[in-house]
């Protein structure tokens, strides 16, 4: 009897050591996204938030590059966060929103419509950058199932070791530095700051399907249902980036959808002159994404619109928010100056 107990304890110990080591190695080989590409770090940063948000932005690169929550707070006292990542597909935005609504209920959700052009999973690497940072719950599992491309393996999303094990010989200092900690955020409430200036030029015309995929429109419908259910105002926005192109047929489809569901739809490309965005100075990559100057202009303009339309409260002067945003603004300004002085 005693012998058996000892054997049992021995096996148990061996298993504990084994799974502990496996966990450690798994964390070590998973990409940290702290230097490049930063986009992979965005999803996880939402969970570090200590204050609530009145506005949530969801979408692809056109949200995390073009809207600055720091400006929204400093100018209007609007509290916000961006749940966007590289090529974040419509259903991924839906599930990231669903995941966020488990812990908070914002007043307004702004969805950037560019991703509607994709009706199918696109790239394994972008899936990873969007989904790996998500906390494990039913939303994550459904998001994985909806996003997997051909040949992908569900288990490897739950156990990152299965996916990243062959990074073992490509480890860098970053992997050890952020082994057991997610470290400082790389974004400013989901906003990735860029200071480069690369003027827009003409891009070659491409063929396109005038019809937006049914599947992505269906996901948009589900997003509208979700917000309606929770009493949240959903706003559709096409940010002012001019590339990739947003075609008139697509614009009409989204406008018709917004009309049918009684939602607000703002196509900002037409408003560029009003906002004061100059595609010679306000873009960091020839018209695809705004740099910090453009993003601040857009935030100033759109903050006013949101505040007026939805009577958003001004949180400036509330101790909890002020402390949070003061520290953030300081880091924001430092980074902006640093990047500017480095010439990018």
């Amino acid at each position: 009897m005693k012998r058996k107990t000892l054997t049992f304890i021995g096996i148990l110990l061996a298993c504990i050591v084994f799974f502990g080591a496996l966990y450690a190695v798994s964390r070590l080989v998973a990409p940290k996204y702290h230097t490049s590409p930063l986009e992979g770090h965005l999803t996880g940063e939402y969970y570090e938030e200590k204050t609530a948000h009145d506005v949530l932005f969801v979408g692809d690169c056109e949200v995390f590059s073009n809207i600055s929550p720091v400006t929204l707070y400093n100018e209007y006292g609007i509290t916000s966060f961006i749940r966007g990542s590289a090529q974040q597909l419509t259903w991924q935005s839906y599930y990231l929103l669903e995941d966020a609504l488990l812990t908070e209920t914002p007043k307004v959700v702004v969805f950037n419509v560019l991703a509607l052009k994709y009706g199918e999973p696109q790239s394994e690497a972008y899936n990873r950058m969007t989904l790996d940072g998500m906390r494990l719950n039913a939303s994550k599992i459904r998001a994985i199932r909806a996003s997997m491309t051909e040949g992908e393996d569900f288990m490897s999303y739950l156990f990152p070791l299965l996916r990243y094990h062959d990074r073992i010989d490509k480890l860098t200092g970053e992997d050890f530095a952020y082994w057991f900690t997610s470290g400082e955020p790389v974004s400013f409430k989901g906003y990735l700051l860029r200071t480069e200036v690369r003027p827009a030029t003409d891009m070659p015309t491409e063929t396109y399907d005038p019809k937006l995929p049914e599947s992505s429109m269906e996901w948009l419908g589900r997003m509208a249902d979700l917000c309606e259910e929770k009493g949240i105002a959903l706003v559709l926005m096409k940010s002012p980036s001019i590339y990739p192109k947003w075609y008139p047929e697509w614009d009409e489809t989204v406008a018709a959808f917004a009309n049918a569901r009684g939602l607000r739809y703002d196509n900002m490309i037409a408003e560029n002159d009003v906002i004061g965005i100059d595609m010679q100075t306000d873009t960091c990559d020839m018209g695809q994404h705004l740099n910090v100057y453009g993003a601040e202009k857009l935030s100033r303009f759109y903050g006013a619109v949101l505040q007026k339309t939805y009577q958003l409260p001004d949180h400036r002067g509330e101790a909890a928010y002020d402390a949070d945003y003061a520290a953030l603004s300081e880091r924001y300004e430092t980074e902006k100056n640093l990047r500017r002085s480095e010439g990018n």
Partner: protein
């Protein structure tokens, strides 16, 4: 379902508890049901072919059985009333009936195998000769058909020869034919042993379970760490014969030898381990083959069950068959040496042609098989020469040095033959092989060559480590099985070994999406 898949592991994780929890009486029925799921999962067409094999072999063996009984009764009744000649005539009549049934059953079963294996090739051939659209291009082997056809036909022949009694329950024959671990990479088994073990009751035994897990893990280790890694380089080398020639071929030979060994023995380790987990002993298929001192010895130690099958059911019957004996007698006037060699030579070459054909439908496999036969015959003819050599240097043959030389010579020889396995045409294979002797390009191999094959230096290092581990274990294995020695050290130690195996597979195995950092570079979208 391939061994390295979640589906297979899940299948096993469900089967094993169910198998041991149900009453022993119906254990084999449960196994049969799981086999059915496994077979159907791979494709319904395969299930149909398998059903045809089971039904035809069952019907034929039952018919043999009935004919044997009737023959005995009839002959016994004739004993006092009829002459010896008459009795012999009756016996021959019964034999003829049985032979007819046997031939029909063989034609049906090998016909399916042949059609699936050669259908597409014949379709292209006839289209080339007579024009028109090639037929049968979508014909492909269904899962395990090369293995289970041989196993089940082996049983058919055993019953025909009256060495094994006919099974009365068709479901038991179905269980033997469809036993799932055998459908992936074999081995070819015998109804007498595995078939009987499958239907016997099996109680759970923790030690056996642990020991079986060790064997399965070791199989995966070889497959995922060594074989699947080296396969990338081997495929790259074979795909471009006009780029990779000369010393690249030497490299290809060695990599392929390691890759094939790790893949095939690894797969068989998993199969035998799964069998053991269910309490069923499956025949060994390998006996440290790369330590053979001659090609014929190698073939007694590599893919043992296939060699045994061919010997038992083709080679011996053919060499002692009436036409062969007549041929031997007819050549007696050329001398006893010639007449005695005729059966051996013809049978050897035919068996090797068939072995080649079994491996693949491409002409390269036929040439590969025949060359194996030729090498074996040549070395048999050289035996007196060797004997004279060893008589003169009696100590040399015993020395470790000479044995090492013989082993390396054998490995190089069989690796050279295997080059035929790598290329689509015999011409490519031969020109690649001979380029090794005409082109000296080690410089190109080491300056960029080995990095262009899809493997990093780390990959080569891991594979080399894996090969060294396999080699070291084989050396240790000469003194008895390693698993027994691990198990002797107690359950805790065995579990630790198992966990180390699993951990290294997870970390160093080649599976899933490879990590290509360039995919993760955000390209402005």
């Amino acid at each position: 379902m391939l061994f390295p898949s979640w589906a297979f592991l899940l299948f096993l994780a469900v089967l094993v508890p169910v198998y041991y929890l149900v009453p022993k009486r119906i254990q084999w029925i449960v196994l049969l049901l799981f086999n059915a799921v496994f077979v159907c999962f791979a494709g319904l067409l395969g299930a149909v072919f398998m059903a045809v094999t089971v039904a035809s072999v069952y019907a034929a063996t039952r018919a043999f059985d009935a004919l044997f009984t009737r023959q005995r009764e009839t002959l016994a009744a004739m004993k006092t009333t009829h002459t010896k000649e008459e009795r012999k005539k009756t016996r021959l009549q019964f034999e003829k009936k049985r032979r007819l049934i046997l031939v029909a059953c063989l034609v049906l079963n090998f016909g399916i195998l042949f059609a699936l294996k050669y259908g597409a090739m014949l379709g292209r051939l006839s289209a080339g000769l007579f024009g028109g659209k090639p037929f049968g291009q979508d014909l492909a082997l269904t899962m395990g058909i090369s293995f289970y056809t041989f196993s089940t036909v082996g049983y058919l022949l055993d019953v025909y020869r009256e060495t094994v009694p006919a099974e009365r329950n068709p479901l038991k024959l179905a269980l033997f034919t469809s036993f799932f671990p055998l459908l992936v990479q074999g081995p070819i088994t015998r109804f007498e042993t595995v078939g009987k073990a499958l239907t016997a009751p099996h109680a759970f035994d923790g030690k056996r379970f642990l020991s079986a897990s060790l064997r399965i893990a070791w199989g995966y280790w070889k497959k995922l760490i060594v074989a699947d890694r080296l396969l990338v380089a081997v495929k790259a080398l074979c795909a471009r014969p006009n780029v990779y020639y000369g010393d690249f071929i030497f490299m290809e030979m060695l990599l392929y030898a390691a890759c094939l060994y790790a893949d095939f023995t690894g797969g068989i380790d998993i199969t035998i381990g799964v069998g053991e987990m269910l309490g069923i002993r499956i025949e060994e298929n390998f006996n440290r083959p790369y330590f053979s001192k001659s090609i014929s010895e190698y073939w007694r130690r590599w893919h043992i069950t296939l060699g045994e099958w061919f010997k038992r059911y083709v080679y011996y019957p053919l060499s002692v068959s009436k036409p062969m004996r007549d041929l031997s007698k007819a050549t007696r006037r050329f001398g006893a040496g010639v007449s005695r060699r005729v059966p051996v030579y013809l049978a050897t070459l035919l068996v090797w042609a068939l072995t080649g054909a079994w491996h693949g439908s491409n002409l390269t496999f036929l040439v590969w098989g025949l060359l194996n036969g030729v090498v074996i015959l040549l070395s048999e003819e050289c035996k007196p020469l060797y004997a004279r050599f060893h008589k003169r240097f009696p100590k040399l043959g015993e020395s470790a040095f000479y044995r090492g030389f013989a082993v390396i010579r054998t490995v190089l020889l069989l690796s050279s033959l295997r080059i035929l396995d790598c290329y689509g045409t015999v011409k490519d294979a031969f020109s690649s092989f001979f380029s090794m002797f005409t082109t000296w390009n080690w410089g190109a191999v080491f300056r960029g060559g080995i990095q262009s094959l899809g493997l990093s230096y780390t990959d080569y290092a891991i594979a080399l480590f894996g090969v060294l581990v396999m080699f070291a274990l084989s050396m240790v294995q000469r003194k008895g099985t390693i698993r027994k020695r691990i198990m002797k050290r107690g359950a805790v130690f065995s579990v630790c070994v198992l966990l180390v195996l699993i951990g290294t597979i997870l970390l160093f195995g080649r599976y899933g999406f490879g990590f290509d950092a360039s995919q993760f570079i955000y390209n402005r979208f």
